[in-house]
Amino acid sequence: MSARTFTTLFVALLGLALLSAPVSAQNVPYQRLVNAGNTPQDWLTYNGNYNSQRYSGLNQINRQNVAQLRPAWMYQIKKPGVFEASPVVADGVMYISEPPSTVTALDVRTGRALWTWTPQIPDNVIVIGSPPVNRGVAILDDMVFAGSIAGHLAALDAKTGVLRWDIAVDDNRKGYYLTLAPLALDGKIIVGVSGAEAGIRGFIAAYDPKTGKQLWRTYTIPGPGEPGRDSWGADSANIGGSSTWLTGSYDPTLNTLYWVTGNPGPDYDGDVRPGDNLYTCSVLALDPNTGRLKWHFQFTPHDVHDWDSNQIPILFDDNIGGRPRKLLAVANRNAFYYVLDRETGAFLSATPYAKQTWADGIDAKGRPMLKAGNDPTVDGKQVWPNLQGSANWYSPSYSPQTKLFYQFTREMSTIYYKGQAKYITGQPYTAGGGTAVNGDDAYAAIRALEGTTGKLKWEFKLLQPGMDGVLSTAGGLVFSGTEEGNFFALDAENGKPLWDMQLGGPVHANPISFGVDGKQYVAIAAGWTMYVFGLP
């Protein structure tokens, strides 16, 4: 046996051993999260890895055999609702959240529930700005962490679901609530909040995983006297929104946390909040030990179309201008694909990846060059992209194999209306809204963009704009879903369709992949069901 043969055999055996790890392990220290890319049989964070690439290193399911993919098991949630959860898988257990805020652990071999936990949600809970959803959990050490629409964060025993602690992140009576999957770092759990349609002041906060004690809180609207406060005229800052409702990304080497922020409030009437409205519609780079802001980049200054920048920032490294760069890329809700230097926050490029009618482009400093006359009016003004954007919360994917950024792209417009703005605690503070121009007048596409430039490599058209995440895999595949209930696989190189199945309910979720007993699986929520697919 040559050394090489032995190494190959050893790696294969090791892989098999890991794939068949006993169900009882359930201990996920921080180092496992840092090295998540080395254990693709697990899916340890919301997007699979701190870099948020939503890329699986498993290649058992590939271009040659994906046409044979079939359901392995299904799990139906216990209460109907909008099911947007992205599972976490560790050591043979899948952890999901069910709408509105239930956490359930499933046996990955069978889909049978191991435990379930439901928090107390008051009947008069305030959820303004989204359906009452939950997009997933975080795991760290022997605990699972989940937010709730009541504005709480809970820590559960990963083996049993027993509640370890439960704290109020902020006051739901003021419109604060949680829909995001928390992010577990070394000795801290990071969360953000929803509620910009109710006039909250957004923030990002870190909690001690052992006790639930708040370690720091960084507001996403500067306080009096702080830099950027003067970007809010007319005393509008304290109810200016800037929510933080999507899970961030993390670079362990730079020890930098990247978090995106939402729209200013009121959404559609900018007259009452003159200025750029920092740090709304931005990405923030934070020191995770202190919450200190390292740099920020604002995608849409003074937004009036509800174009939250709550899209996943993907981290990858590549050469730009002949030198290696550490990059951060976002396909923004405003229809531009941005590439930033994630060490410095320097703006590198922005390229439209969907139809837009509001800007002549993005200038050299990264600021949009506005076309006149696109603000909402009392009679309505039609603008591309749509109110829900050309992208939204659902995750894109980046494949290090193809160096392509895969984005479910919504091609749609909205007629934007301006209405009244009057702040009343716990009530909608939006000052208008929009009517979607949908149906046969709209469509969607999976677009493969060159990671460093945003240049379109290929697209695969879909019937209608939905809320569908993308997974790419080492098997050369891209998985995604549709509003009509299709789940499908494309060739990651050229977008050729290789497999699809109708699941009977809309896909408003992100796919993941995991392995158990030496077999690779792909999971997706659709309708009121979690589906898991494998090869025969």
């Binding site: 009016t377 009392v378 009679d379 301006k418 209405g419 939006t430 046969d440 209930g485 499908f488």
Partner: protein, 261 residues
């Protein structure tokens, strides 16, 4: 007043309404309600609520206060009414009050006679494609309660220029604003063409029914062309086949269908 002047005036009025509370002025519900209604509701419900694609609402409404506010707040997607936009509770209240005032005017009398219209319907053999009370064909929308869904102006246009109106929210299958009874022509890889109306569609398949009522289901990967004829209807135009009086009678009959007696 020129259009531009009118818009400027409307904007000033809007600002006045928006800042009414802060300035300590009395918030005029009727004025605010008309402004919101004219901007957001007249495209479907017609000027002053006389109806069009959506029903006339310029008559006393059966809905109680809670039901009316719910439909203003959330729409009725299953009946083709989208949630127009998110309203504050104050805006909902304002609109509800204004909508009630629309019913205070004199009822609009239709030009035609419903009884005569029924005979026109039968003479034209509309039942070949449409169903009323369980009797008739299925190629076009069921009309049993069409008077609850559409108003006279829309129905008249649908009779005279069928391609110019796009049916939505009747069958409740393809929601999200898709056209229903959409004429589609598909060509398969072997060159055969199938024409019919779209029944349902997803990103990978399409289901259709031809003029004989036969159902087809295609995978799009097996088709070389899918032609969705958005501005067309399978229904012929009756513009040159009906006298003005017959058209009015037919419309009056359709409006009467499903109307509360």
């Amino acid at each position: 007043m020129t259009l531009q002047h009118f818009r400027t005036f409307a904007l000033i009025a809007a600002v006045a309404v928006a800042s009414g509370g802060a300035a300590g002025q009395t918030f005029s519900q009727a004025a605010g309600g008309k402004q919101l209604f004219d901007a957001l509701c007249t495209d479907c419900h017609g000027v002053n609520g006389t109806g069009d694609e959506a029903p006339a609402i310029n008559h006393p409404l059966g809905a109680d206060e809670a039901a009316l506010k719910k439909i203003i707040r959330d729409g009725a997607p299953e009946r083709g009414m989208p949630r127009v936009r998110r309203f504050t509770e104050e805006e909902v209240e304002t609109l509800a009050v204004y909508v009630r005032t629309l019913g205070n005017g004199a009822p609009v009398k239709l030009a035609g006679d419903a009884g005569k219209g029924r005979a026109v319907y039968q003479k034209l053999d509309c039942q070949a494609c449409h169903t009323i009370g369980g009797q008739g064909g299925v190629l076009g929308p069921e009309l049993t309660k069409i008077g609850q869904r559409r108003a006279a102006s829309y129905l008249k246009q649908a009779v005279l220029e069928p391609g110019s109106v796009r049916s939505k929210g009747v069958q409740g299958i393809l929601l999200n604003g898709f056209s229903e009874y959409l004429p589609v022509s598909v060509v398969s890889k072997n060159g055969s063409e199938t024409r019919g109306i779209r029944i349902n569609e997803d990103s990978f398949t399409i289901q259709m029914r031809d003029a004989n009522g036969k159902l087809y289901s295609f995978r799009k990967s097996e088709l070389v062309n899918v032609d969705k004829q958005v501005a067309r209807s399978l229904m012929p135009s009756y513009k040159d086949k009906l006298s003005a009086g017959d058209a009015d009678d037919l419309v009056a009959y359709l409006v009467s269908l499903g109307a509360s007696k």
